[in-house]
Structure formats: structure tokens, C-alpha cells
Amino acid sequence: MSVENGIGAPVRRKEDQRFITGNGHYLDDMNKVGQAYGYFLRSPHAFAKIKGIDLNAAKAAPGVVDIFTGQDMVADGIGGLICGWGITSKDGTPHKAPPHNSLAVDAVRHVGDQVAFVVAETLQQAKDAAELIEVDYEPLTPVTNIAKALAPGAPQIHEEAPGNLCFDWELGDKAATDTAFAKAAHVTKLDLVNNRLSPNPMEPRAALGDYDAGTGELTLYTTSQNPHVARLIMSAFLAIAPENKLRVVAPDVGGGFGSKIFVYAEETTTIWAAKKVNRPVKWTSDRSEAFLTDAHGRDHVTHAELATDADGKILGFKVSTKANMGAYLSTFASAVPTYLYGTLLSGQYKIPSIYCEVQAGFTNTTAVDAYRGAGRPEATYVVERIMDTAARDLNMDPTEFRLKNFIPSDAYPYETPVIMTYDAGDYATAMNMAKDMIDYSGFTARKAKSEANGKLRGIGSAAYIEACGIAPSAAVGSLGAGVGLWESAEVRFNPTGSVTVFTGSHSHGQGHETTFAQIISDKLGVDINSVEVVHGDTDKVPFGMGTYGSRSLAVGGSAIVKAVDKIVEKSKKIAAHLMEASVEDIEHEHGVFSVAGTDKKLTMGEIAFAAYVPHNYPADLEPGMAENAFYDPLNFTFPAGTHIAEVEIDPATGVVEIVDWAAADDFGNIINPMIVEGQVHGGVAQGIGQALLEGVQYDEESGQLLTGSYMDYCMPRADNLPSFRIATTNTPCPSNPLGVKGCGEAGAIAAPAALMNAIVNAIGRDIDMPATPEKVWRAINTH
């Protein structure tokens, strides 16, 4: 028996109705009676001492309610922003965590750093008043480039971090890797830059703080991917209010891609100021502020070496990376270039020994943290670029070289030398599928045809793996995480048989209202339109960890399944009582409870009603039908697959045209294939953006952000992208009840390496991302 709109059906999204009619409720759509507007005065300097701030003229400006500086917050006992993942350096010392005040106290360390917060009756008045604030800056020489920041003699950004070093971390077995290299027939070396990106969800961040002087309760409406974590940090570390007096609500959120995980200065200042002025205060970022302050992604400089034997088998892999953390450590910044990166350097391959070291440092730039993929795109980029380079060195077809080195499908569970245990996979099947989809063997003929037309043609693949379903709490705890990474759910039946599901996951485009409803519909036979999914409000849903790292279905969905199991268990007891049978004889399928071997049955709806109107009810059972569950995953999940890109390049202009894209992904079981495809499209588009178009640039001398708007930061637009060919394979994840793996980041992880491999294949030499026409043209035309 299968259920309409159940697991596996491409159900059209429930949430769409409000979005396509303009009835979504994004943060800036909300207003409160008596609301004032907040505006941040930001540093025009990349690095400067603050010698004094004169607010007198500004405070007297029309409409000003109040103006706050960093000293005011410190005097009020408000703590600094934190980084929640501790990293231990090679020498055993903890990572350097310099203070990070929401509003600068004695120095500014990147352009856009918050200096003062103006609250006024209108936004225009707040902006006008900010112009009257006089800040006495003593400009210092900035450094924005990570290699330069870590070099001797660089400007010292934080006293607490000598030489600007945040940590110097290692993973893997250095001695074993050195030994492997000593035996190698061939060593391939590669230098790579992973460009800095600006996440750019289309909805800019915003915050609306509301204080109830009667109850002492503070409510922060904010653009967050994880409202409970925001509440925890603001309460436990910033001391804004006790957790029970602080409510955080994330309404419809217009995209996140990681950038809305973090607890930022603006949100914390806004909620704090709302209490200070005893009025609702709203702050909405404009796009320019978003470029200056939303945590950036990537920014690695890497040297990698791959050792192979005479037969083309990999013997060892060495990776040395410098990671730019920006001016301050953002909420999870330290985890990204370490445990989300080094642990994935085995890729899909059997590599006997791996050694990785990462030096992370501070620069006078915007903080860098998780951006779609977070560490895993960086790892895949290193692995998959060097796989292609090595294949070239060895005169092998890159896909053959990969196939030769894949972990075989009977080797699971497979322990890598970088502390991951892969649970299931079949890499060759996915790669062969992608090759078929793109007609890999026909490439030579297509290339000849392009050449006849004066064009260069290239093909490139990337066989990526990621660790999703973040994460087993004990595992991440032992690696330095300050939190557990379980998820919560409550499944609550109403007496009339409709269901409300409360989830600690948070949807900001992923379609949870539909996917989660499908699970309920499938398991409990409830019409999908009678299922409501509630998320994003700390007063409504049980404490949850939120959505990132492609974890919502594998972890949040599993929590729902656990709650459903409890519902079923209780329902069986009620059914047994009502049908005068023993519990052991009750069978359950999709919300129908029957007595084995008879035609007696009751539906879930009838049982729920009986639970709320318990006139005839088991004496030892509580009335009501609501269950909650917390699910802590047993392992990460390991989505993997192959993407192959084919490009044609005009040597006269350097313009890269993506002529074909084939993706074969193993996401395990799939609840809604339509949504999964959409996630892959979006991920690939962001990966293509990174490879071809995007890149945050700073002026090295002044530290000014050069790519501060859509005029200078090149976002992928409809005419930059092709349509994609997408297919899936399936090795179900053995560690969660749904057998699902996570699909949100795969595209962004696979795409940059596949596309750059295709470009390098076409032009015959290495270049760095983004492969702009100018760069490609120069690579082709300079010899």
C-alpha cells in the first residue's frame, strides 16, 4: 500500500501558495506599534584605533531616540560574540579567541565594523544623525591577504593573537605519509586558491527587537537558520536576558546558505537597544551592509601533493592550507577549515595515508564562516583538482584514474585516515551514470568539432563526498564543538485528526513544510493538507539546533520519525482497548490499526479522537495524542556522486560557455524528488558562480572592499547558467530510520572542481577561480 503524497512523491510545495501571492512574512514585512528604527554607523577604515567618539551633535538631531556605543554595552554587562568550536593547535594550545564586541570599543578591524547604533523615529532620521557622529580614528596599516597576514612583520590585528595566528592545526599521520611519499613513483604537486565568496541570500538580514516592560520578556524577530542556538548564545554568553525571558522568532527567511546561522553584532545590538529605549526597534540590512558584514565563505590558499605508485594507485596525500578567518572569529568559523575540511580529504578514494595542516589567521576583512558546503567544497576542490592533475601527469583518463582508486562498494564501513567512517556508497555506479548522461566517450568527436570552429572544448569531472547530517553529539563534542547536534520534534494530533508538527529544524527555502508533512502523511495516513509544520519560534517548538550542513531531513526528519513511532505505540494500546484485542495483535500500516486476522480496524483519526475524548479508554494510559522526541544521529551521512561539466571556450574572448552538465548523486532514500532536484540546481549554480563569476576583492593597501554591491560582485544570473541534467543513485544511509543523506550542499561542493577541471582541460593550463574571461584569455594567450 502506498500513500498519496507520501514518501517518494514529487508533492508540490505547501508553502508556495503564500510566496507566489505575495503573502509571505519576511522579517522586514513586520512592524510593531511604536517601533523605532536602528542604523549602524560603520567604520570607513580597515584598521584604526578609536580615540574618541563625540555624540553630542548627533543626539540633538531631530527624531533621535538614543545612540549607543560599545562602551555602553560593556557598561551594561553585555558580553562579546563567541566562536562555539574550540580548536587545539599542534602544540596543544587552544585557538586564539580575541574579544569581539558587538559595537567596537577601542579599535575597528575591518571596513564596516560597527561603531555606534543610532535609534530614531524614522530610518532617514537615524541615518542623518549618524552623519553627525564624530569619531576620532587613528588609522593603522591593514592587512587583508592571509599569506601576508601570517608572514613575519605583518600588522598585528589582535594583541591576543601574536603573528595573527588563530591556530595551527593538523590531522592525519605525518610520519606514515612521509614514508608513503618516499616510496612513490610519482608525486603531483598543486597550488590552489579557494576564492572568498559573499553568500548573498536575496533577503538581507534584519532584526526587530521588542521589550515587554510588564513581564520583562524580550522578543527578537530575526532572519535566523537556528533561533534556539541564537537564543542560547545571546543568553548564556552575552547576558542579554535569561533564556526563559528571551524569545527568538525566525519567520519566513529568504535564503541563508549558512550566513544566517551566526549570531551577529547587529541582531544582538538591536534586541539589547529595544530594552534600553523600551520600544520596538527594527534594523534591516541593506545590500551594501550585507556585503560588509554577512560572514563570507572560503578564502583558502593551499599547497597539495599526491603520491602515486607506478600503477596509478594513490599512496599518500599531503595538504597544507592557510585559511583566512577575517577580523574576528564568527560563530562556527574555527570548525570550517578543520573538522569540516580536513576530515573529507580522503574524498571517495582509498588513500593509505593522509596528512593535513591548516594555519588559520586574522586579517582586516569581514569574518569568514560556513557558506553552503562549509569546508567540504574546499576539501573537494583540493582532492578533485589534484586527481585531474595527477591523471594528466600519469597520462590516464581522469575518470579511469578515479575509478581505479575508488573505495570499492564492498568496503563499508570504511575508515579513512582522517577520522571519518563512511557507512555506505557506490562511487563507480554514480560516476558511470554521469559519464553515460554526458556521453563521455563522444567527447573527442565533439572536441574536434569545436576545434574546427576555432573553439576550445574541455570536459571535467568531480567525484565529491560530503559529511552531512551533522552530527553525533559525542563525536563533535570530542572534536571541540560547544554544543550537541541532535534535533527535536513534536507530533501533536488535534482532536479532529489534523496534525501539527513542531520541528527544531528551520526552513528558509528547503521546503520542510512539504517534506515533513509527507513523512507524517506516509506514516500516519493523514491527508497532507491536514498537516501543519511549525518551526522557527523558541516559544512554540522544543529546543532545536536548526538547519545547516544538510541536516534537516537526516536529523530533523529522524526526530519526527521517532515521535511518530511513539504515536504509533500509544495508538496501538488505544486501538487494542477499543477493539478488545491484545496489543500484540494490533497491526499498523499508514495510519490504519487493525486486529491481525480479522477485519476489525480503526483509523488514526478515530484513535486520536478517542485519546482526547477518553470516555472509553485504557485505564493506565494518559489522555491526549502528542509526543515529542529528540534524535541524536549515530554517524554523519555521506552523500556522494559525480558531476561532469563540459565547456566550450572562445579563445578570442576567453568566455567560457557551459555546454552541458551531468550530475549523478547518491542521496540515499528521497522523500520528495522535486525538491531534491531543486536543491541540486541551486547548489550547482552557486558552485558555478564560485568557479566563473564570484570573488570578494579587497584593496590590499587600504583594506577597502572593492566588491561591495551587485555592480562589482558578479552574481550568477539566468543567462550565465545552463540547464542541468540530474539523476540519482541510491545506497540508503544505514544509520538513520529514513535512510536519507542530505542534498542541500552537494551541488556547491561538486561544481567548482568539475567546472575548473573542464576549463583546465580545455586550455591546457592551471588557473584559479573565478575563471573570468580576462583570466582565461590571458591564460590562453600568454605563453
Binding site: D16, I20, G22, G255, Q686, P716, A718
Partner: protein, 155 residues
Amino acid sequence: MTTVSMTVNGKKVSADVAPNTLLVQFIRENLRLTGTHVGCDTSQCGACTVHVNGDSVKSCTMLALQAEGAEVKTIEGLAANGELHPMQAAFKENHGLQCGFCTPGMIMSAVDLVKRNPNPSEETIRTELEGNICRCTGYHNIVKSVKSAAENMGG
């Protein structure tokens, strides 16, 4: 303050606004029609797209006063008599949206695109939508939505 009057979604509206009020501000703040979004400050994302006298316009590039006497249509006015516009229906049917933030602007642009190109090719759709940024969908399903809507609209 100056008085501005126009017809928005078929209703006559009028308000006193500062002369530098943008049309998008007038729509969002004065009329509280919050389906029209603001995604940038350089007139490049298209999240604010509405129709002014039947043509799509980025409402952040225009002063409210410039729309004096005009017929303005926003996403809230697109469905007629409780029936979704074929473009809205096509976005839902083809998963042409994820977070939904770009969607109102995207749909308003797409309606105008199909009006001018009743039977658009994929290339035309991609070129025409160049002024609307979507960070979520990779455009694949947006293109599919517009194509299918054009067919349903009798192109």
C-alpha cells in the same frame, strides 16, 4: 510632503509622502503591500519588480511621485477572482521557487516577458530574466516555469 495618487491593484490610493519616497517604499510602507521586496540598493536584483501601466518596472528605481496617476499592479493584484495567474500556477507546479524572496519580482518580470514574447525560447527567457537575481533555484526551474506558463497562456 506632497500628495501622490495612483491606482494600485485596481484600487485608488492616495497619500502624503516625502518627495524622495521611492515607489517601492510607498508600496511597502504606505500601502503595506509587502509582497514586493527589496533585495539590493543598486537597482540590480529585480526583487522589487511591479507593473506600471502594464510594463514591468523595478519599483526601487522610480519615485512614488513619478507614478502619479498610473495604474500599478503588484504581486498581490496578480491573481484574479481567487484564481492564480497562470504564471503563479506554473511557478508552483514547476518548483520555480525555494525561499520565495525573489519570486514576486520574478513572476512580475516573467508576466511582462511573456506578454512581449508569447512563445519564448529558453535563451529568450534567460536573457530577459537577466535583471532578476535568484540565489536559490539556479534558474533551471524558473525557466521551466516561464516556458510552461507561456504555453498555458496560449503562446
